[in-house]
């Protein structure tokens, strides 16, 4: 472990901010987000809708929506080609370099596999295209690789299934095919954005197990984005909790669940029903997530927080401080000024 710790991380995001210019006003979906993922590490990003978790992954891949731009921060990424560290925040999003990294180094699986596949091409055609784009080879070799990939993700009869269209596969199979496509270019980092939210619980369990197995066997780094604390609890080592475009808490998964340090994380854990205990009374978080057009000043959570320490919660953003080993939170209850 100690040798790994001294190694440079695979990706190191520092103080990333994104602004979107809309007719209705300026939206700030990301406000100084920092996180890192080591090679082969499984990291989870959890938060409710509007917290910026999807925007974060879109910023990494430089596929931001129209009108959105990165206004500050760095995305230092160690690329596969030559182990050089490049800053994805400043690179031209349309450049050959970025296109190589997007899909080649970092690939992504989405929530809805039906929309990720073209309805008029077979699964084979789409995966083979992906393979040949990043690794020139003849059609026969590409075919062999497609079948190999489909087999790897647990699709039975991969040789026949390869010639199916997306609509011919069940939801779980389609999600597996999408994972196969994401792995086609032998990426180093797999971003999974709510990969099982649209699936039934038994299918979800099997797809998550598959992602976990592949992550370990292929030594992939995984960035799992989800709102589901149950999924997070069982699939990643390290968790970032986001709220309104900021990381408000981060730590090893067991720490986050056993000793949540930020009032938001604590409240979130109190608001989900338990599978094993009926009597636990739910304590909902009052109100709803503020609009991204009118962000609160100070701590973003102060409008819904029951543990405010005073006026400064409304005025000032608390520092991100270490509360226990490798476990950080941004709240005045943990800072010098707050005590």
């Amino acid at each position: 472990m100690s040798t790994e710790a001294t190694d440079a991380p695979l990706i190191d995001v520092e103080n990333l901010s994104v602004v979107i210019d809309r007719d209705e006003g300026v939206v700030r979906p990301l406000n100084g987000v920092s996180f890192r993922i080591d090679a082969g590490q499984a990291v989870g990003i959890v938060g409710e809708s509007g917290c910026g978790k999807t925007m974060t992954s879109n910023a990494l891949l430089r596929i931001l929506p129209p009108g959105a731009k990165i206004t500050s921060g760095h995305i230092r990424y160690r690329r596969k080609l030559d182990e050089q560290v490049v800053d994805l925040a400043t690179i031209d999003s349309g450049s050959a370099e970025m296109r190589q990294i997007r899909g080649g180094d970092i690939s992504m699986i989405f929530q809805e596999p039906m929309t990720a596949f073209s309805p008029v091409h077979t699964i084979h055609n789409q995966i083979a295209e992906m393979i040949q784009l990043h690794d020139p080879m003849d059609d026969q070799a590409a075919r062999r690789r497609v079948v190999e990939l489909l087999d790897l993700v647990g699709i039975s009869g991969p040789d026949e299934r390869a010639d199916d269209y997306a609509f011919q596969l069940s939801g779980g199979m389609r999600q597996r095919a999408m994972i196969a496509m994401a792995l086609a270019s032998k990426p180093r980092l797999l971003i999974a954005d709510e990969p099982t939210t649209a699936l039934d619980v038994t299918v979800q369990a099997r797809v998550l197990k598959l992602i976990q197995r592949l992550q370990r066997e292929l030594g992939l780094a995984l960035m799992l984005i989800t709102h589901d604390l149950g999924v997070i609890a069982h699939t990643v080592e390290y968790v970032y909790v986001m709220y309104l475009g900021q990381v408000i808490e981060e730590g090893p998964v067991v720490e986050i669940f056993d000793n949540p340090a930020h009032p938001y994380t604590q409240a979130l854990l109190h608001s989900i029903p338990s599978l094993t205990n009926k009597d636990k009374r739910l304590e909902p978080i009052e109100g709803s997530v503020p609009s991204a057009f009118a962000l609160p000043t100070g701590c973003p959570f102060h409008t819904r927080c029951t543990k405010q320490v005073g006026d400064k919660c409304k005025r000032q953003m608390p520092a991100h401080v270490e509360v226990s080993k490798g476990h950080y939170a941004s709240c005045f209850i943990h800072t010098e000024e707050g005590s």
């Binding site: 369990a205 067991v254 599978l275 739910l282 909902p284 978080i285």
Partner: protein, 343 residues
């Protein structure tokens, strides 16, 4: 519309052998080639003032069942015996359109998606009072009633003239609930009412439903796929698989001591929000569902079941109680022999 129908004294709803078969059409001439039995012989009784959870994976027929109970869909067969506030018991499945309208004021629905179930061109006042207007309320009475309802569900009545877009998902779901409550129903079918909401907001709505149920002595049929939500809210749970009930019991008994292998599989597959909890125990098999087509003879779950035998493939098991004491029904040929793990 009154006849000999009777149900147990404490029951408000009794569903008997409810069926919905959809024709399958194929080819150029759209000739019918078979049936999809979306719901195939569902029976259960719902006691006054209780919450029954109806759970299962997509395509199991839980939504279809809920919709048939309110006659949003016409059943292919079976009975839906409903006790009206007058005490009279009617078979909803056999009522005419006109008669349905009368009964429906006492049996309402809450929908899943608060974004698509509210007309964006109608202000809250019109949305909530629509059922009132349909039953002949004056506009003055409507406004008073809507104000009262908005307060009841935790919405600020000052927003009575706002349109749905001005509300968050949780607030929209409150509008949907107020609308369902407008005519003081005794039975509510809630179809996945919290699954489109954020976690923190979901808890608000669950607590609201619980309060309303207690204060207004409502009876709820809660259709859901999320087992932890069902455990929190429901008194009793029925598990559905490919159009049939496979298990029904009091909530605690079903979760701690499941009697059907499918229930045990669902419990094992659901990730508890606790990294120390067991998830996907290697001893338990979790396999994916096949497509719902014409199920042949035998138990529909047999192809996915690790305990299945020849008997399972030949004969459909009956949903029956076998333990004595509190009723705990399961439809499995091997329920006496297999040891299943709960949570």
């Amino acid at each position: 519309m009154s006849d000999s129908a009777t149900i147990a004294d404490n029951a408000i709803l009794q569903v008997r052998d409810l069926k919905k078969h959809f024709p399958v059409r194929r080819g150029l001439l759209q000739r019918q080639t078979g049936w999809v039995k979306a719901v195939d012989g569902v029976s259960f009784t719902l006691e006054q003032g209780k919450i029954l959870g109806l759970v299962g994976e997509s395509g199991c027929g839980k939504t279809t069942t809920g919709r048939m109970i309110l006659r949003a869909l016409d059943p292919t067969g079976g009975e839906v015996l409903f006790r009206q506030q007058s005490g009279q018991v009617v078979d909803m499945a056999k009522l005419s359109r006109r008669q349905i309208k009368e009964v429906r004021r006492e049996a309402q629905m809450i929908f899943q998606d608060p974004y698509s179930s509210l007309n964006p061109r109608m202000p809250v006042l019109d949305l909530i009072s629509e059922p009132l207007v349909a039953h002949g309320w004056s506009s003055r009475d409507c406004e008073l009633r809507v104000t009262e309802l908005m307060e009841r569900v935790g919405l600020d009545p000052r927003y009575i003239r706002r349109y749905p877009h001005a509300f968050s998902g949780g607030q929209r779901q409150r509008i949907g609930i107020a609308r369902a409550l407008a005519l003081s129903p005794s039975l509510i079918v809630a179809d996945e009412p919290v699954s489109a909401l954020d976690v923190s907001v979901q808890a608000q709505i669950l607590n609201l439903l619980q309060e309303l149920q207690q204060d207004l002595n409502l009876t709820l049929l809660f259709v859901a796929h999320d087992l932890s939500v069902v455990r929190y809210l429901c008194d009793e749970v029925a598990v559905m698989y490919q159009g049939r009930l496979v298990e029904q019991a009091e909530t605690e008994a079903l979760f701690s001591d499941p009697q059907h292998p499918y229930t045990a599989m669902l419990l094992n597959a659901a990730p508890a929000p606790d990294p120390h909890a067991v998830w996907m125990d290697e001893d338990e098999d979790v396999s994916e569902a096949g497509e719902l087509t014409e199920v042949g003879t035998g138990c529909a779950f047999a192809p996915r079941c690790r305990y299945s035998s020849d008997l399972c493939r030949e004969q459909i098991p009956v949903l029956e109680d076998y333990k004595g004491g509190q009723p705990h029904l399961a439809a499995c040929h091997h329920k006496h022999e297999v040891e299943l793990k709960g949570v």
